[in-house]
């Protein structure tokens, strides 16, 4: 083998080894576990069976929780886009000399621990939290609002807060890629600012919107911490179920089956969005 090839292999080996050892192998194990089962004395039976998957399909709890997780994730995507897209537009087209500093301001929250930020919302939404105190003081309500905390509402707000930067960054990147002449050309041909936005800017930024939305959706869908800290029983998400099955319930085979199901759903979503994105980029 030529020396250049050898050194290329040497450089590539550590990341490959890392992925093989810490990602691929656990996934394979997970996949195997999902076809095994436990006997009455909690002993692992290594015989292939579809029992776990049948259990998932026939127990309404799992379907409900998966649908709820998707609903919450979808709400997060919509909210993040509603906040993130105008922000990205402002950064790219309006901010001028403040663009750099504002861009940094979008990124900086990513440096702060997720846990800290989730707890912060607890402080804000609690019965004696900032929000309720303010509302009581303003006589906007007589009793503290209970739905603020331990509800899907709290989970959605927290996740949105955390994933807005994940939407802003790819949208900014795709808006910046639009050549300035296209905007001039549009207005030159008689389009108003709004027409230029809907007919040129928006369609050309769709790849960024899509990758931001995919990020926000997948990360929210698999989130575990926000429902644990801020969600009540009505906002248990699928990752919490997995954690319980592996932890308290000690039913690894069933937990593995749920995990494989999530993995498949994620792969399906990724494939679809990547196809879409490629098509939009080509156009």
């Amino acid at each position: 083998m030529p020396r250049a090839r050898v050194s290329a292999w040497l450089v590539a080996f550590p990341p490959f080894a890392w992925i093989a050892l810490f990602l691929f192998t656990p996934y394979c194990l997970l996949f195997c576990y999902s076809f095994w089962s436990l006997d009455a004395s909690q002993q692992l039976l290594r015989h292939a069976t579809l029992a776990n998957y049948l259990h998932l399909a026939t127990t309404p709890l799992y379907v409900t929780v998966i649908l709820r997780s998707m609903r919450i994730a979808f709400s997060v995507v919509v909210l993040s886009l509603l906040i993130g897209y105008p922000l990205a537009c402002f950064l790219v087209f309006q901010a001028g000399k403040y663009k750099r500093i504002l861009y940094q301001a979008v990124i900086i929250p990513l440096w702060i621990s997720y846990l800290v930020r989730a707890y912060a919302w607890k402080v804000i939404f609690g019965n004696e939290g900032v929000m309720n105190t303010l509302l009581l003081w303003a006589h906007a309500t007589r009793h503290p609002l209970g739905f603020l905390l331990y509800s899907p509402f709290a989970v959605i707000v927290t996740l949105t807060h955390i994933y807005v930067p994940f939407v802003v960054l790819p949208v900014v990147a795709s808006l910046e890629k639009i050549p300035h002449e296209l905007l001039e050309s549009s207005s030159d041909l008689g389009a108003t600012a709004w027409q230029t936005f809907t007919r040129v800017i928006l369609p050309l930024s769709l790849p960024g919107v899509l990758s931001g939305a995919t990020f926000a959706f997948l990360l929210s869908f698999g989130d575990f911490l926000a429902p644990l800290l801020l969600g009540g029983p009505s906002s248990v998400m699928i990752a919490n179920i997995v954690a319980n099955l592996f932890g308290a319930d000690y039913n690894w085979p069933l937990g593995a089956a749920v995990a494989v199901l999530i993995l498949v759903m994620v792969l399906v979503i990724l494939t679809i969005t990547q196809r879409l994105e490629r098509r939009w980029r080509m156009a």
Partner: protein
């Protein structure tokens, strides 16, 4: 009040802070004219075009299109369209949709839109490519689509910002010819920006030579070529010999030769085009004759460029056809010696 002028620029100026990009440009353009703004980069030609399009605001002066103030109108309301250097086709739209864009945003009826778009595509011979996307067609074809996209809206004025500069040399010549024919056919006033003097000469009815944000010279290609006003114009448009001399009592003494002129006494610089110099024909008295030594010859096929060294050390370049006999006498017509203004 109606004046005959189609487009009038009155003292149009543009400053960026302390920096003057355009200094008081005044210009009248006729309906149906093919006008070229020629200049080096930094001459202000593109800025002037952008002011006309409405992408930039003039800091002084006013612009009238058929007696209507244009300056205060936003770009999307001006009856003016631009063909950009980069074509600026919308990458997410087909050729048809690109051309239809202007009609769509103005809410043109579907049937009319379709027929006008097809007509425009036919005019630039792109009807077969209606369903293609910009990434699927060549540079020359993009150029045609950009033209169709502007012309389909029947603008009063079409601005072209170095539209041919991205094309290779052969295609460029072909597009020059096509552009000129197209302009004659549609009868729309074209204002064309280029830094390429040969393109400007080949394509325009009238050339405006810009330098440092001022009009250096303005005229038909022939006039501007045959009688350059300044040394800059003489050197920028075509090649020229600059001949220095001194006028005394109606005779300009240039060292190697003396020529009778109608100029005041004092130093003077003339422009003498290389093709105006030819081997001397003995016995002709209309010509200014001089002796020179050929120090270099470059053969170009149809003609040769000679470097002549005259008495007194002055070097002239001459463009002559055919083989040279070994004569050392050269001559030119007195009227070809163009006195230039001092700068």
């Amino acid at each position: 009040m109606s004046s005959a002028v189609f487009l009038r620029l009155e003292n149009v100026g543009k400053r960026f802070g302390e920096h003057t990009v355009l200094a008081s440009i005044s210009l009248d353009v006729e309906q149906g004219e093919f006008l070229t703004l020629l200049g080096e980069s930094g001459s202000g030609k593109t800025t002037l075009l952008r002011i006309l399009a409405g992408f930039e605001e003039a800091t002084a002066g006013r612009i009238l299109l058929e007696d209507q103030r244009l300056d205060a109108m936003p770009p999307h309301k001006r009856p003016i369209h631009t063909v950009f250097q980069s074509y600026a086709l919308f990458p997410h739209m087909s050729v048809f949709d690109n051309v239809a864009y202007g009609l769509r945003v103005r809410g043109c009826a579907r049937a009319e839109m379709t027929s006008r778009v097809n007509e425009a595509l036919e005019k630039v011979r792109m009807e077969r490519f209606a369903k293609h996307f910009p990434r699927q067609i060549s540079g020359g074809q993009k150029q045609r689509v950009a033209l169709a996209r502007a012309l389909v809206n029947r603008p009063r004025l079409l601005l072209l910002d170095e539209p041919l500069s991205a094309l290779d040399a052969n295609l460029r010549l072909e597009m020059q010819r096509e552009l000129k024919l197209l302009q004659r056919e549609v009868g729309i006033t074209f204002i064309f920006v280029t830094h390429d003097q040969s393109e400007a000469l080949a394509i325009s009815d009238r050339v405006v030579l810009l330098r440092h944000g001022k009009v250096e010279q303005c005229g038909t290609p022939r006039a501007i070529y045959s009688t350059p006003r300044t040394a800059y114009a003489a050197g920028f448009i075509g090649k020229s010999n600059l001949v220095a001399g001194v006028v005394r009592q109606g005779v300009a003494d240039c060292g190697a030769f003396s020529v009778p002129v109608k100029l005041a006494d004092g130093p003077v610089t003339f422009s003498l085009r290389p093709e105006c110099i030819a081997p001397a024909v003995p016995g002709s008295d209309q010509q200014v004759q001089f002796a020179a030594e050929v120090v270099a010859e470059q053969f170009h096929g149809a003609d040769s460029i000679l470097t002549l060294r005259c008495a007194g050390g002055m070097e002239l370049s001459a463009r002559v056809a055919g083989p040279l006999d070994n004569g050392r006498g050269f001559a030119f017509e007195a009227q070809d010696l163009i006195p230039l203004e001092h700068e």
